[in-house]
């Protein structure tokens, strides 16, 4: 291996390890956000929000490394697919970090209000979402497209739970108008947790692209070789 080849390999390696570090921080942020909810711990919620800056910093570092690698080495084939996937997963993970912060904001608001027996299972939903994210990152690390597809299949369950949560929260608001603001905050939290499942799904779609070179998002759409989707051309 020449010095340049070694540097190239190291650069790809560094992107991978930074991404894993970021994944770890994001998972920890979600776990802590769920803890803060269960314990009504506004201080813990604040610490999670403060720690988001570290996730954002990693996002910038990975962006920079990815850009440098593209410019210097113009990677092709599996390296190109890895890099495209890694840079998009970087964005997805940063967004999950933001979601954890958003959950914490709602938790802090809930801490200002009297305790409430919510009709939805926030920690249960959160654990499902967290498991999806964890397994998506595992699939990325091990380059396992089958595992990624299995995670995607689980997203529907989270969607259904959220639909049910909305219905239950709406009913709770009707039953007790004094609880409306707490119910609305819970419905935000439910939506955030469902979004984590969507981000995990995105990551898994990228893993399939990285491993197999096939694009599985938006399965009903195909793309022409000029980059346009059929029917997407505007009027002349």
């Amino acid at each position: 291996m020449t010095r340049l080849e070694r540097h190239y390999a190291e650069q790809l390696e560094e992107i991978s390890s930074k991404l894993m570090r970021m994944g770890g921080l994001v998972e920890q942020a979600i776990e802590s956000a769920l803890d803060a909810y269960e314990r009504r711990d506004a201080e813990l919620a604040q610490r999670v929000r403060d720690a988001d800056v570290e996730i954002n910093r990693l996002e910038l570092e990975i962006d920079q490394l990815g850009l440098e690698t593209l410019v210097r080495y113009q990677p092709a084939a599996r390296d190109l697919r890895f890099l495209i996937a890694a840079m998009q997963i970087n964005t997805d993970l940063e967004r999950v970090g933001d979601i954890a912060s958003n959950v914490c904001k709602r938790v802090q608001e809930l801490c200002e209000e009297p305790p409430w027996e919510a009709p939805i299972d926030v920690p249960g939903m959160g654990r499902l979402a967290l498991r999806m994210l964890h397994d998506a990152l595992d699939a990325f690390v091990s380059g396992n497209a089958d595992a990624a597809r299995a995670v995607i299949a689980r997203d529907e369950q989270l969607d259904e739970i959220m639909e049910q949560a909305f219905a239950d929260l709406l009913q709770a608001m009707r039953d007790d108008t004094a609880a409306t603001s707490r119910a609305i905050r819970h419905s935000f939290i439910a939506k955030y947790l469902e979004r984590i499942g969507d981000q995990a799904t995105n990551i898994c779609e990228l893993v399939v692209f990285m491993v197999e070179g096939t694009v599985i998002k938006h399965p009903r759409l195909t793309v022409e070789s000029d980059g346009t989707a059929p029917g997407s051309r505007g009027a002349p």
Binding site: Y8, Y73, P75, A76, A77, L80, R81, G213
Partner: protein, 281 residues
């Protein structure tokens, strides 16, 4: 050079098709190819340089041959207009059909073949004559004598090679006074002056700076409307920028052939993957 006459020429339509288990890594499904190569092998003396290559080249497209030095890509390119005939001690087996007819058939007149299949080399090689004479030389050999007709051909060829505006006021200056990039475009103009069907390009940009390279690459895109282009290039970036199809050769064998984007994003063969990601050898 010898071409064994025992080699049967497959009639058109008798080429193995999908039902006969085509290898997707070697066959992107070219319809109405301009060239069909069947089991081509080439020996320099005892040394075998090409091994049993079969490939179909699409018309009015750019096909790139890539591979490490010594993989046989230039040798293979020179088979298409029988340039290897000029070398002693070369033996070729297999066949190349051009528009359905063997280029090795005794009825093929070699000068006609080379008029229809032109070539541009790595090092630009204008004749030490005027710009005008460089272009007019080929048509004259092929019998064009009328001055007005020659003027037309010179202008059309230089325009097609995106050189006209730069040289129209000094057509009778010596061609060796042009820059490297201009000389290479002059060679392309000279190649297309005789109205070929195909232009073979052997590393046409390897001696040029990025701007001159970009002009040649742009020119190739314009030319493919009227010509079939085959380019041998060391630069994988160039192959991925300009070509529609890419063939990867290694140690004289065709390893993979496919649509360029597919080959550079998701190659089917490990050897291709290793080469284009720079993990070779």
């Amino acid at each position: 050079m010898t071409t064994p006459d025992s080699m049967p020429v497959p009639p058109k339509g008798a080429v193995p098709d999908a039902a006969a288990g085509r290898d997707p890594a070697l066959d992107p499904g070219i319809e109405d190819p301009i060239f069909s190569v069947h089991g081509l092998s080439l020996h320099y003396g005892d040394k075998q340089a090409l091994h049993d290559i079969s490939i179909e080249i699409p018309r009015n497209r750019i096909t790139a041959f890539i591979g490490p030095s010594g993989c046989g890509k230039s040798t293979f390119l020179r088979c298409f207009n029988r340039l290897n005939d000029l070398l002693d001690n070369v033996t070729i087996r297999g066949d190349i059909l051009f528009e359905g007819r063997s280029i090795f058939s005794p009825e093929v007149e070699i000068n006609t073949l080379r008029r229809r299949i032109g070539m541009v080399f790595q090092k630009s090689n204008p004749f030490p004559k005027s710009i005008y004479e460089n272009i007019a030389y080929g048509p004259r050999i092929h019998g064009v004598r009328d001055r007005r007709r020659l003027d037309e051909i010179v202008e059309r060829s230089l325009r097609a090679a995106a050189l006209w505006d730069e040289v129209k006021d000094r057509l009778h200056d010596n061609a060796l006074g042009l820059s490297g990039g201009q000389q290479q475009r002059l060679c392309i103009a000279r190649a297309i002056a005789v109205e070929p069907d195909v232009v073979l390009l052997d590393e046409p940009c390897s001696a040029l700076d990025p701007l001159a390279t970009a002009r040649i690459e742009e020119l190739m895109q314009d030319l493919k409307e009227n010509y079939t282009l085959i380019i041998v290039t060391h630069s994988m970036q160039q192959a991925s920028r300009v070509s529609d199809y890419t063939a990867f050769l290694y140690l004289g064998r065709l390893i993979e052939y496919g649509v360029t984007e597919q080959l550079f994003i998701k190659p089917r063969k490990k050897e291709t993957e290793d080469y284009i990601t720079g993990r070779f050898g």
